[in-house]
Amino acid sequence: MTDSLAISKFTDLANPTRFLALAARILPWMAAATVMLFAIGLYLSFTTEGDYQQGLTVRIMYVHVPAAWLSMMCYTVMAVSAIGTLVWRHPLADVSHKAAAPLGAAFTLIALATGSLWGRPMWGTWWVWDARLTSVFVLFLMYLGLIALNRAMDDPSRAARVSAVLILVGFVNIPIIKFSVDWWNTLHQPASVIRMGGPTIDQEFLWPLLIMAIAFTMLFFTLHTTAMRNEIWRRRVAAQRRMAARMAGREA
């Protein structure tokens, strides 16, 4: 009795209808928090001093690093959701990784574009095929492949299962991206914030960077919750249309 009660409570919490009610309640707050964090982050980004070597181009870091961090975090969120799809066969997990893929692709695109725009004045080149840049480019292609694969199948639960397997196989790329700067000799610099022994970056740049990273993360979760809500609605529309067609067929 207690067991079944606990299970029903758990399923109730992960129920799509319950999710929609929760999303409606928290989305305005999340959006407001995102706007406020961006306002503070951008203010700090444009009022801090330039680097003694890089000059003002250090400001590119405040969008490049958070976007790059999100490109990896989004894939991790997708991998956790993929486990939810394969182990618990939960429809909300299917919706989660499907909704996250375009967001991940967009943030990876920002990381690649801003990195290139930073590389040109600092390295003297837009692009090199070093381990970090190449592995992030592969991540971008994987996002595009996953978007295409998930939308190529009509049956959403089958699409989710196939995508989930590919997401988990592709997860091997995430540690490769993170440690590429240590394992290989790259033009890209090694980690200076999340590293053993603490950040080596100056306080002057650390604060705007942290606030922009929190702002980007909040933006991601706001967009992800919205996209999940949209996907649930899309599935409901499809289900209701099928039901209407069946009813019309029975009447005819």
Binding site: L56, R59, A106, L117, A227, Q240, A244
Partner: protein
Amino acid sequence: MSHTFYIAMSYAVSAIVILCLVAWTWLDGRARRQELAELEASGVRRRSAQAKDDAA
């Protein structure tokens, strides 16, 4: 080209991509909500909603 050009371009690219994402999620949500409202208006309801109505 000056450093300002690269900084401005970086922020512009990020802003454009983020605004596209926001517009996409917002417009997609609006379109789906409209479709659900149209279905509701034409008398098609979710099975769970029908069951509740029958019980009442």
